[in-house]
């Protein structure tokens, strides 16, 4: 498993706007992500949750308002939703109710 030599995808990750309250948790404005084509949505969710200080069930990743399945790889995502389009691929994330 030498992921470091894999092809990489470039993503633009935007927070899904209202009705959610302004986000005080986001540590920075960084919104571009790059990772291996073999990474899966669940891996991206885990990394994002870590950055946002949230638990896994609170963050969802969406394409075109549709939640993406956890086991989808970045390659599958790119080929099925973004083939022929320029990098980066635009994704959204949403944060569910933060009650713990």
């Amino acid at each position: 498993h030498y992921f470091r030599y894999d092809e990489h995808v470039s993503l633009c990750l935007e927070k899904l706007r209202p009705p959610q309250p302004p986000d005080m948790l986001c540590p920075s404005q960084q919104k571009y992500v790059r990772c291996s084509v073999r990474a899966q949505i669940r891996h991206l969710r885990r990394v994002l949750c870590h950055r946002l200080g949230l638990s896994l069930q609170h963050v969802q990743i969406l394409f075109d308002n549709e939640p993406l399945p956890d086991h989808m790889t970045m390659k599958q995502l790119w080929l099925s939703r973004w083939f022929g389009k320029p990098a980066p691929l635009l994704l959204h994330y949403s944060i569910k109710d933060k009650r713990r």
Partner: protein
């Protein structure tokens, strides 16, 4: 060094950036090793606002290789991730000009201002 990097080879590396990422090209530069990831040196020095000469002096440990533009085009255009014409329009498929590529290591990512996260699959 290389050994430290090998420890990270079996983990996913996620790179978080403020700016749109520079294009990264998966290219096999010689027959004795498989494809690896490279950035165009010209892209890197432009973003760092540095000359190629200063870059190579300051970061001698970052591997720079040379490839013909035609070979670069041939390999890149085979990738399904470069199916968009605009991502390749700057390159001439027949050109014998030489392009400098710099290996896309964690060190280079950090140098370009990315924050790195590692994740065990």
């Amino acid at each position: 060094g290389d050994e430290d990097e090998d420890d990270f080879s079996d983990v996913f590396e996620f790179e978080f950036l403020d700016e749109p990422p520079l294009p990264c090209y998966n290219i096999q530069v010689c027959l004795s090793q498989g494809p690896r990831n490279w950035l165009l040196l010209s892209d890197v020095v432009k973003r760092l606002k540095m000359s190629s000469r200063i870059f190579r002096c300051n970061f001698p440990n970052l591997e720079v290789v040379t490839i013909t533009e035609a070979e670069f085009y041939k390999q890149t255009s085979l990738s399904q991730l470069f199916s968009c014409a605009t991502d390749l329009e700057a390159f001439n498929p027949e050109s014998k000009e030489l392009l400098d590529l710099v290996e896309f290591t964690s060190e280079l990512k950090t140098l370009l201002g990315s924050e790195l996260h590692w994740l065990h699959p």
